[in-house]
Structure formats: C-alpha cells, structure tokens
C-alpha cells in the first residue's frame, strides 16, 4: 500500500490526503557499512540512530560495494587477495502495489572468492563480476547463490594480467582487452564472450578505458573519446559508441556513476568538473564546473533529482540533475587536498533514506546531513579512519 501512496504522493499531498492511516505495519530501515583505511574491519551502523550494530573482521582493509538489490555488501580486499561477502540483513521485494521489507542481523558470510589483486566489482542483474587484476581473470558469482552459501564461480580469462573490468550480461560477459604491448597501461577496448567464453564480437575500441556504470537498462563504459553504451540485444549485448560532444573542452571521463530512478550517468571530466550524460538526448553531455577539485560523488537513490559532489575545499554540493546546476553547497570539513597519494584518506559520500552521510577520516567522524533541508544535523564519532561507506535500506510492509 505504501508504494501506491508514493505513486500518487504529489496529488495526495496537495489534496490533503494522508498515508499514515494505512502505514501501521510499515518499516523503514537503513544501514551503513564502513571500512577503514588501515584496519581490516567493517563497521555496521544503524543509519537512523547512529548505533553500531556489528563489526566484522576482514582479512585485509577493504573497498566496499553493495549489490543492486542491497542484500549483499562485498568487501573487496586488493591486498588480501580475497573478496568476502556480507549479508546486509535488509531485503526488499516489490509486489506491484507495495513493497515488503525484511530486516535481520547483518552477517559476514563464509563465502569468499579468492584470487590475486581483486579491484573492480560490477553487479548486473544479480550477477556479480569481480575482476582480479593480478591474474587478468573475472570471477562471476550469482548474488542469490552467494547469500545461500553455495556460489558456483564462473571464471572468464583475458590475455594478460591488467587493471580490468568485467560486466555480466546474462550468459554473456563484457570483458576488457588489455594493451598487449604495455599491459600496465590503460586498456584498448571491450570484447563480448558467450557462456563458453568464446568471443562473439570484434573488439569494441575504447582506448584508455576506465570507469563503468549501469543506469536502468544501459551500461556505460568510459573511453578516451567517448562512451561505449551497452544494452541487451536480441541475441547478445549491443554496444554503441557515443562520442564526447564537440562542446566539451579537451578531457575524458574516468569515473562513472549511474542514476537511480532517472536514467542518466554522472562522470568526472577533468579534476574540477563533472558531466551529466543522457545517451538518448540530442545534447547528451552537460558539463558542470566545480568550484575546486572533486574528491567524491554519489547519486541519490531516494530523490532521483539529486546527486552530490564533495570538493577538496571541504564542501558538499547538491547537483540538480534535471536542471544541470549546483543548487546548494554546504561547508562540512577542513580542506582535503587532491594532491598527494590517490589513496590518502579523503571524504566519501553515501545516501541512506532521509540523510546524506559524509565521512571525515582525519576527524574519525561521520557528518549527517538532512537530505530535505540540506543542512547538517549531527555528527557521529567512528573508530579509526573511515574509508569506503555504502548504505542499504528502504521502506516497506512487514507481514
């Protein structure tokens, strides 16, 4: 029923209708999973009250990635040569006119996928592709099987170890092609292989490939001169090239996020600008200049109209992806310079329900910003130096 009320919420609000009468059995739950820069640990916080729910010890410091469903958080441990999986304890299911929400304890699963130097994680339709740079191998597991504790791991090999990425597209896999002459340099393109690992297409050229994201039924992959846009085809994924607009200055995208609720991509474009990308629009690229260099960015899965960009002057900016403008800015931290090592502790952004969370690793603090007013409402002290932060949760009925 809740979903129904949300569907007509604009009308309901303006006509004075209230949804509360039917919401007696509704539940809202959001959790934050936070890894540490130096310690092999993942903290789990209740995002609604800041209480710590659990702490899991991993093999090595981890980068965290949530699955699309939010049921699983993957702890990718490059230096530990392993990927561990955490059941988030929150699962939502869609039932047409309403959604159900089930909340259990989060738990570190026994499931682990081992290999040399795992880096890139991509979930596409519940198939998680983990790329192990040290071997040039993608290992693909189903999220459902992972949660059930019995994942069968499908391996797809490339020609050489490289900093690569794989994207599972049903039985097919999109796979990076290393630069054979200089495997340590950026990649030359994407190949598609079938269920048996046989190549089903010529190379889709994508020099300097780095950065990929999904939004709705589209996957975008960033290249030196534009993006590859992939989507399901009749027999195999179809891939088209979208060149950067002539209006853009010299530059390229190397990091991408996919819009939730609205279909768009948000990419970096040089250190001090971002681009909003709608591959279906006549004017596909809208560049937004930032006041200083970008540190991190995130899309808002709850309020599709907004994305957030944190810049090195310590400010969080609200980006209206419809108008293409920064509509609010909020000073949150001391400056965090982008000079220095790429992996130095710097703030990260996550959105959980009605709040935006920004890590402040040098202060061991989480800043909590009210998403509606875009004003800071509290700080949460956290152990160590927070590195990655991901949020999972939602609202729904319980039965």
């Amino acid at each position: 029923m809740f979903r129904f009320f949300r569907t007509v919420s604009a009308a309901a609000l303006l006509t004075g209708l209230s949804a509360t009468a039917s919401l007696a059995d509704e539940l809202t739950a959001w959790r934050l999973f936070i890894s540490d820069h130096g310690e092999p640990v993942v903290h789990v916080l209740d995002a609604l009250n800041g209480n710590e729910l659990a702490t899991f010890n991993t093999k090595a410091p981890a980068g965290l990635y949530r699955s699309d469903s939010g049921k699983t958080v993957f702890a990718v441990q490059r230096d530990g040569n392993i990927v561990q999986a955490i059941s988030s304890g929150i699962s939502a299911s869609d039932h047409g006119d309403h959604g159900d929400l089930k909340v259990e304890d989060a738990k570190l699963l026994d499931t682990a996928i081992a290999g040399t130097k795992p880096v890139h994680f991509v979930d596409h339709g519940g198939n998680v592709a983990l790329f192990f740079d040290g071997e040039g191998i993608a290992r693909i597991v189903s999220e459902g099987d992972t949660l059930a504790g019995s994942p069968s791991i499908r391996e797809v090999k490339t020609a050489a170890p490289h900093h690569g990425v794989a994207i599972a597209f049903g039985d097919h896999v999109l796979l990076t092609e290393p630069n054979k002459a200089k495997p340590e340099e950026l990649l030359v393109g994407i190949r598609v292989v079938d269920a048996e690992g046989a190549r089903v297409s010529d190379l889709h050229s994508c020099p300097d490939l780095h950065g990929e994201a999904a939004s709705g039924n589209l996957v975008a992959i960033a290249c030196a001169k534009g993006l590859l846009i992939a989507q399901a085809g009749e027999k195999e994924p179809s891939i088209e090239f979208l060149p950067y607009s002539d209006k853009l200055p010299e530059g390229k995208v190397t990091m991408l996020l996919g819009g939730k609720g609205l279909q768009y991509f948000l990419g970096n474009y040089g250190p001090s600008a971002v681009v909003l990308i709608d591959p279906t629009a006549d004017d596909a690229f809208r560049r937004i200049e930032l006041p200083t260099r970008r540190v991190h960015f995130a899309v808002d899965p709850v309020r599709p109209k907004f994305a957030y960009v944190f810049t090195e002057d310590g400010k969080l900016h609200r980006l209206d992806v419809v108008s293409g403008e920064i509509v609010k800015s909020l000073a949150l931290t001391e400056p965090y310079s982008m000079d220095g090592h790429w992996s130095d502790p710097r703030p990260r952004v996550a959105v959980a329900g009605d709040a935006i969370f920004v890590t402040d690793p040098l202060k061991s603090t989480l800043h909590v910003i009210d998403a509606a007013s875009f004003e800071k409402n509290r700080d949460i002290a956290i152990e160590g130096k927070p590195f990655n932060i991901v949020a999972v949760g939602g609202s729904g009925e319980t039965h």
Binding site: R6, V8, S9, A10, G96, D97, S215, L262, V321, H399
Partner: protein, 312 residues
C-alpha cells in the same frame, strides 16, 4: 480483493481533484503524454491548441521505461500530464517527484471499470507464499477496449477544459467527433470478431495486455508473461502454457510490438502453431507503420487475428 477495490476508489478520489490549472491561457497548452496511445488521443482532442511531449514513444514499453532528466524537464514545464494510471507507468511517481511539476496529473482510467489480472497468475503468486494479500492485481491495459477509450477521451477533454477554458468548446467538439469515429471502429471490430468461428477464438500473445479486449469482444488470450513485461516468464510458465495450448486447441500465436519475439517463436515451434503476425499492445507503431494511430491499431490487430485464424 477488498484492498484492490479500495485502491481503485482512492485513485478516483485523487484524480477528481484538479489543481495547478492556471486560469489564464497563453500559447499552446503544454501536454505531456505518458505513452503513444495517449498522445494520439490527446492530439485528436487538443488539435492545434496543444503541444504534446510523449515520454514512451512508438514501439516503446512503458512497463520497463526508465525516465530521463529531459522527461522531468518536460513534465516541469507541462500544464497537463496525461497518464494511464492503474500502475501502468511504474516510473510515474519518481518522475513526478524529480520534476517538481505543478501540472495536474490526470489518470485517464478514472471512470473505467477495472478488471483483475488473470487468475492463473494470481494463483501462481499465492503459491509463492503471498496468499494472504494481493499484489497490484488490476489489469492496467484498459485502452484495449474501445468503450474505455471513449472514457479516456472524455477525461482528456475535461482536463483540457479545466486548463484552458477558452478552448473548451473546441475540445468538446473534437472529442465528440473522435468518439464518433471510435464508435464506428468498435462496430468494425465486433463485426470482424463475429466472422471468426467461436471455437477458434483462443489465441496466444507475449504478455497479458488484452484482458479488456477479451472482456469486451469475446476472444480468449493466453500469455506467458502476466500483465507486466518486467518479470520474465519462467520455464514452468511456458511449459504450462504449451500444455494448455494443446488442450485448448489455440488457433494462432502472435508477437507483440513491445516484446522480444523469442518466447513466442519457441511456443510456436513447440505447439506447431504458426506466428500469425504482430499485434500492437501497449504502444503504437511509428508513423510509417500499420498502427500509427489508435484506430489503425485496433483495425490492424483484429484484421491480423482474423487473417491468422481464417485467412484474410
């Protein structure tokens, strides 16, 4: 059932309340139509007085459509937003919120007598552990009955009149003229169906888009996918359908313009039925296709069905 009826009643209450209509009218009325069939209705009612932006265009599938920032921009600038309702446009709520539109969101199924999705799928869900409550089980494809299309047209005329009082006489006259054409089309469809032998009136399509057509005109439709294309048919669904087809002696199988043909081709191959052509279910064809208007779509569908069963 009770919940479903309550839901339908609430939809009516909400859509009866117009808001955001400006009294003054300058320039064409800016209208957003959620998909191509509504666009056609709107153009027939609005004529030159309106400017229509359509979100899900020809051959597009509204069930799985992902709205773009440009759609939110169009909705933000709209005077009137015309939608089907009954959960047909799953993207609507987030698009309304993202657009911050002040336009009236007009659900054109207001006044339609809703029918439920087919029982075999409702039972399937119950077996899956949700027997205690129903899941959006109203069939949203009300436009597949011409009697309902007339209700859509009346609702559009009412919405345009509320937004543009100066044009109201024009809208009403246009709606009346178009409704007359719909009446003639309805007679044609009924006459064509009457020429199909009664024992040959079972056919197969991809998804349950034709419940209202079945209800109105007496053909029986079987489909593996349910009322939304979003959830793929399971192998068990397909096997059950093939078995049912053999028992029911279905006369023909059709692909839909908005869905992948593979499933239907598989069913055709396993049942020995020949694919009888393409039916237009949730979207019109492009301008150069056989179903670029609603009236052409209804003529095309019924002619295609008859052609496959008894020859054209």
């Amino acid at each position: 059932m009770l919940k479903s009826l309550r839901l339908a009643a609430l939809v009516s209450v909400i859509t009866l309340t117009p808001f955001g209509f400006a009294g003054a009218f300058a320039g064409p009325l800016k209208v957003v139509a959620s998909f191509s069939i509504i666009e056609d209705f709107a153009k027939n009612v609005g004529g030159d007085r309106i400017e229509v932006t359509t979100l899900v265009g020809p051959d597009g599938d509204a069930h799985v459509y992902e709205p773009k920032p440009a759609d939110a921009m169009a909705m933000n600038k709209a005077d009137v937003v015309l939608v089907n309702g009954l959960h047909f446009e799953g993207f609507l709520q987030r698009l309304v919120e993202a657009s911050a539109t002040k336009a009236s969101i007009v659900e054109l199924t207001k006044g339609v007598e809703p029918i439920k999705m087919k029982e075999e799928f409702a039972e399937g869900e119950a077996e899956g552990g949700h027997a205690d409550h129903h899941h959006g089980d109203i069939d949203p494809h009300a436009f597949q009955s011409i009697a309902n299309a007339k209700i859509y047209v009346k609702n559009i005329a009412d919405a345009f009149c509320a937004a543009d009082k100066d044009g109201c006489d024009t809208y009403k006259a246009n709606a009346e003229a178009y409704t007359q054409k719909l009446t003639e089309t309805d007679k044609d469809v009924k006459a064509t169906i009457a020429s199909i032998p009664e024992d040959k009136r079972i056919i197969i399509t991809s998804h349950d888009a034709f419940g209202y057509f079945e209800h109105e005109y007496g053909l029986a439709f079987l489909a593996p996918e349910g009322i939304s294309t979003e959830a793929e048919a399971s192998a068990a669904d397909v096997a059950a359908l093939i078995k049912q087809v053999k028992e029911d002696k279905a006369s023909a199988v059709f692909v839909e313009n908005i869905t992948n043909a593979r499933l239907i081709e598989q069913i055709a191959s396993e049942t020995g039925l020949k694919v009888g052509g393409t039916l237009y279910s949730d979207a019109l064809s492009p301008a150069d296709g056989p179903a670029s208007t609603y009236i052409d779509m209804m003529h095309h569908n019924v002619a295609t069905i008859k052609g496959a069963i008894v020859g054209s």
